[in-house]
């Protein structure tokens, strides 16, 4: 769905992505992990066209990014920025309705469906400034779903959430992927990433260090060279998925 081909991008002071090649597939949750400053957020911003490429190309549905109109792109990619905010104390339902802006309609059915899917239907008539962090995260997630875009990019959606809300959020992301959405999410929590993502992309200093299924992407060598840690590994008793718990500094 989204393909990065040798993409480089950066800011005035520094280059943040160096020749990244990667794919976010339909129906899959792709986790993007890496230490602080590895280029995770920049990767998402580049896919949204918020940051021009210095080199390489990003294709969305096969078409290079510069050929997409602003509004067509907005209907195709829903973005949940880090530390989501609501600057005015609007009603949760009105906030979710903002997800319909790219369609220039206020499709109440789509808004209801988004609230349902994000487990936020009960919050619809609450003011956003009166919600807890977990509730607000669900409402903002519903806002992204209301766009009904085939791609969902989420930047650190699990930050600031307690474990129960983190698990709930990851389950919601998996459900979206099951509907055929290409989901890409940046995460700091390697245990969460290895447990809930179908594929991982490990970034380090703007480069892709490894990628693939979590077990392969987060090898002991990668953990050591990229994160500077060692991990305890175990298997998911239900599905046999390989799990890891970051354990010690090297």
């Amino acid at each position: 769905m989204i393909a990065f081909e040798n993409a480089s991008a950066g800011y005035a002071e520094r280059i943040a992505l160096r020749g990244v090649s990667a794919v976010f597939e339909k129906g899959i949750v792709t986790g993007i992990v890496g230490p602080n400053g590895a280029g995770k957020t920049t990767l998402l911003r580049a896919a949204l066209g918020l940051l021009p490429l210095m080199q390489g190309v990003i294709r969305i549905d096969g078409r290079p990014l510069p050929q997409w109109s602003r509004e067509a792109l907005a209907r195709t990619i829903a973005y949940l920025p880090q530390g989501g905010e609501a600057h005015w104390p609007v009603l949760a339902r009105d906030l979710v309705a903002l997800g319909r802006l790219p369609h220039r309609d206020r499709d109440e059915g789509a808004i209801d469906a988004a609230l349902q899917r994000a487990d936020a239907a009960a919050l619809a008539h609450r003011r956003t400034d009166e919600l807890s962090a977990g509730e607000r995260a669900r409402v903002l997630f519903a806002r992204a779903l209301a766009t009904q875009a085939p791609v969902l990019l989420a930047d650190e959606p699990a930050a600031w959430l307690d474990p129960a809300h983190q698990l709930r959020l990851m389950a919601l992301l998996r459900e979206e992927a099951k509907r055929g959405t290409a989901v890409a999410v940046t995460l700091h929590d390697l245990a969460l990433a290895s447990r809930h993502c179908d594929a991982l992309l490990v970034l380090h200093e703007g480069r892709v260090t490894s990628s693939g299924v979590p077990k392969a992407a987060l090898s002991d060598e990668t953990l050591a060279s990229v994160f500077g840690i060692a991990a305890i590994r175990t298997a998911d008793p239900a599905g046999g998925r390989a799990l890891l718990i970051p354990w010690s500094l090297l």
Partner: protein, 328 residues
């Protein structure tokens, strides 16, 4: 009819009602019927009073109020900050400076369009400074402090301009520019101000969708298809046109753009887009009412319009800062 539309219509009707009251009120006691007759027939002394004194004043109050209310609502939406408004950010005082330069250095005598033109230029200059600030993303305090700096500079330059002016009475008119007034306005003031304000407010109304999206922050707004750079430019231009033309006609009428959107916001679900038109109506209502108060309290009209709006607005501003501090 949704309750929000009803509220907006009620505000508009109230403003028109106040304008009618303002039209019938004046030092020359003329029966409303003869005033109306004079207005439509154009004959007799009543017609002169109706057409050249009362009508411009009542209509300008509506226009000036609408400009300030809509500008305040749009600026608050752009900065996502209830303290932003044309007066607090210094746009009004810079527009006043532009108008003073145009008036007292003979530019307005060359062609009348230069008066609002200079005021709009002044407003644009301060708006450009805000534009740079808003691009870098500033907090509430930085915005207010920048506004204080811009305002003081504009006020000082206005005083400087007036003291260098060839007109010996220029300095005594300082008060008019600082506090604003609708006294002795003519149809020609209305003729330039109204179209510019209408275009400016229309431009601001067209920004509603983007301002709503900004509720989610800049990056989310961009991901929703909003051209944030273009939006900023449109808001700044709309505010400069509306506030510039209003200030050229009436001087610096303060706090209308701050108070009105803030009071109306809860009635419109805190949506920046829905708030722009009602703020125009509410601004028109407030300025018209304040102008009636000015004339009723002091028929000799030494009292300026801006004195009344500031007496309502300044304590409100203080209260707002205290409340925002508590929340932060």
């Amino acid at each position: 009819m949704p309750p929000k539309t009803a509220t907006t219509i009620a505000l508009g009707l109230l403003a028109l009602g106040c304008a009618a009251l303002s039209f019938f009120l004046g030092p020359a006691h003329i029966a409303p019927a003869s005033l109306c007759h004079g207005l439509f027939s154009g004959q007799g002394i009543d017609a002169v009073i109706a057409r050249e004194i009362r009508l411009p004043r009542a209509a300008l109050a509506l226009v000036v109020g609408a400009a300030l209310g809509a500008s305040g609502a749009a600026l608050q939406g752009l900065f996502r900050n209830p303290l932003a408004s044309p007066d607090v950010t210094g746009v009004t005082s810079c527009a006043g400076l532009g108008a003073v330069v145009a008036l007292y250095f003979g530019f307005a005598a060359l062609t009348p369009a230069l008066l609002p033109g200079f005021a709009i230029l002044g407003a644009l200059a301060s708006a450009a400074a805000l534009f740079v600030l808003s691009r870098k993303g500033v907090g509430v305090m930085a915005l207010v402090l920048a506004g204080v700096a811009i305002s003081s500079l504009a006020t000082a330059l206005t005083a400087l301009a007036l003291s260098f002016a060839a007109n010996p009475y220029a300095m005594s008119e300082m008060v008019l520019w600082m506090m604003g007034s609708l006294k002795d306005r003519t149809l020609s003031d209305l003729a330039y101000a109204a179209p510019l304000v209408i275009v400016g407010v229309a431009l601001l109304l067209s920004c509603g969708r983007g301002l709503d999206a900004l509720t989610l922050g800049e990056e989310a707004a961009q991901s929703l298809g909003v051209d944030v750079g273009g939006l900023r430019a449109r808001v700044v231009l709309g505010v400069a046109m509306a506030t510039g033309a209003a200030t050229a006609a009436a001087g610096a009428v303060s706090f209308v753009g701050l108070v009105v959107p803030h009071l109306l916001r809860p009635f419109y679900g805190h949506s920046p887009a829905r708030l722009i038109l009602p703020s125009a109506m509410g601004g028109a209502l407030l300025v018209t009412a304040a102008d009636i108060v000015v004339r009723t309290v002091d028929p000799s009209e030494q009292l300026r319009l801006g004195v009344v709006t500031a007496m309502i607005g300044a304590p409100f501003f203080f209260w707002l800062i205290l409340r925002l501090r508590r929340e932060a």
